[in-house]
Symmetry: C2
Subunit: 191 residues, 2 copies
């Protein structure tokens, strides 16, 4: 999506450890009008898939998920990263590795919000090694719901997550796919 690639080139910064910082429009300061355009594009891509629920993961997926869900007219469920003591219903659980932070954490979704028969679109801001996406797929499977696809804002195509997830048969649509990235050479997108 050219609109997004242009924005990444303009506003993205490559930080320590080759981390792509897009927190001035995507995941700390949220450009709501811009994310609404991305949501419209996810709708164009998945509008014929019978989606009735969007699943994401706190915290940085919530904004783009909500602004996408408006176009689908469906609710958003977000997986929580820690158990809280005010979820009393039973939960589906998974574990996600965070390579950026060098830790792992548990994700939970209350069983009442993922149901057999749900047709679920996963939305997330980044796809790199695929751990979050695989964790969310596990929750959907545990619920007996169907994962219809994943809409990703930025995929680091030089990392293995995209291939890992696509091998499961899931349709993954990434609005920008980065082929290579470094402070020296800048950001290069896949064709």
């Amino acid at each position: 999506m050219k609109l997004l690639e242009d924005r990444i080139l303009r506003d993205g910064k490559i930080g320590e450890g080759n981390v792509l910082k897009v927190d001035n429009f995507l995941n700390h300061c949220i450009d709501v009008g811009f994310l609404d355009e991305l949501g419209k594009e996810f709708y164009r891509l998945f509008k014929d898939s019978g989606i009735n629920k969007i699943l994401t993961i706190e915290a940085s997926g919530i904004g783009i998920a909500c602004l996408t869900a408006r176009h689908f007219g469906c609710p958003v469920v977000f997986a929580k990263k820690t158990k809280t003591n005010n979820i009393y219903a039973d939960v589906y659980k998974g574990r996600v590795e965070s390579y950026t932070h060098g830790t792992s954490y548990e994700i939970v979704v209350s069983k009442e919000f993922l149901l057999p028969g749900d047709r679920v679109l996963i939305i997330d801001d980044f796809l790199a090694k695929g751990s979050a996406l695989m964790g969310l797929l596990g929750l959907i499977k545990d619920a007996g719901a169907e994962a219809v696809g994943a809409g990703i804002v930025i995929e680091k195509a030089y990392q293995p997550g995209g291939e890992t997830v696509r091998k499961t048969g899931l349709r993954v649509e990434s609005l920008a796919r980065i082929k290579s990235m470094s402070r020296e050479t800048g950001i290069v997108f896949c064709d």
Copy 2:
């Protein structure tokens, strides 16, 4: 706001420790169309205040903040609950007590996203003891920005947060104000 009070009466549950659970439409499963209506109401209340930025706190504030910001045509900045190693710019910091979880945590906002001259509307899902709101007010003050008001979805008016915050002179608008709540007597709203 009658629409919201009716929804709380219909879908809210009072859990252990007198916690109000509204996670089937507000903060775990998000009814995006409904929150869009709440956002429209915040816009009606604050549209003449010259707001150019909405500030909230992860994770449960992000959905309602984004769906409110659409009406204002302004960005959302969300305070993060832990320092992450991919925020490199300097940050404003505060500390928030979480009474629900019996802990406290640090909140941070990158200095580049709160600027002197910003006219900031705080949006959050709950107001109870006011710790999160006071923490966010501190960040705004540290930045030399102006807090124009706070838009709260549900205020527990029997807890002291609303009074504490209003005493600072801040305009606080809560769409539903709960006067009392218990499993025995149910939920009673302020007039």
